[in-house]
């Protein structure tokens, strides 16, 4: 009787675990629309520092403080895009100027 029941119990436990995981993701709005998804991400980002603090207290050692990075990738990317586009837009004019200068120099040499 017990031998017959064990595989059924195992299957039932597995289905409960997997089904529970699926239900939790559905309930927390992870599978919904864009707004819900970004909301959940915001909540998760806000909830990480307290969780990390709790873990550190539980384990009793101090994690090295997260170094403050004074470098913003967004700013770097934006400034990079702007400088490359402005270089591209002023490129032909600058190139023409340099060519003229070079030709002038050569003319001066042959005078």
């Amino acid at each position: 009787m017990a031998a017959n029941l064990f595989p059924v119990l195992k299957l039932a436990t597995k289905v409960t675990i997997a089904g529970g995981a699926l239900y939790v993701t559905y309930d927390s709005g992870l599978l919904g629309g864009s707004e819900q998804g970004s909301e959940v991400l915001g909540k998760a980002k806000a909830a990480i520092p307290p969780a990390v603090d709790e873990w550190v207290k539980y384990f009793g050692f101090k994690l090295p403080a997260f170094p403050k990075i004074g470098f913003s990738p967004i700013e770097a990317w934006n400034s990079g895009v702007q400088s490359s586009i402005s270089a591209l837009s002023s490129g032909p004019t600058a190139l023409g100027g340099y060519t003229n200068q070079g030709l002038q120099y050569l003319k001066d040499l042959t005078k």
């Binding site: 597995k14 675990i17 997997a18 995981a21 699926l22 993701t25 992870l30 599978l31 629309g33 864009s34 707004e35 998804g37 970004s38 959940v40 991400l41 915001g42």
Partner: protein, 75 residues
């Protein structure tokens, strides 16, 4: 759609993609461990489903202004 609005929509798309990929990965790992004897394909399947859901959400979000809505009169 103004540029500011477009920027916000793209930000939402990115955040949503991250969430859906993470959820797909997590569920894929759970299913792989519980049902499929730790094979890799359920993880890939979960990631793919997450990516697909994120893509569809983005698509609907970006197409929303161009939908023609029908006015259903209350009877």
């Amino acid at each position: 759609m103004s540029e500011k609005e477009l920027g916000k929509k793209l930000d939402r798309c990115l955040a949503d993609s991250a969430v859906k990929l993470g959820a797909g990965l997590g569920l894929g790992i759970v299913f792989s461990v519980v049902f499929f004897k730790r094979h890799t394909w359920p993880v890939a399947f979960g990631l793919g489903m997450g990516l697909g859901m994120a893509y569809t959400n983005c698509q609907n979000d970006l197409r929303a202004p161009y939908l023609i809505q029908r006015n259903i009169k209350e009877q």
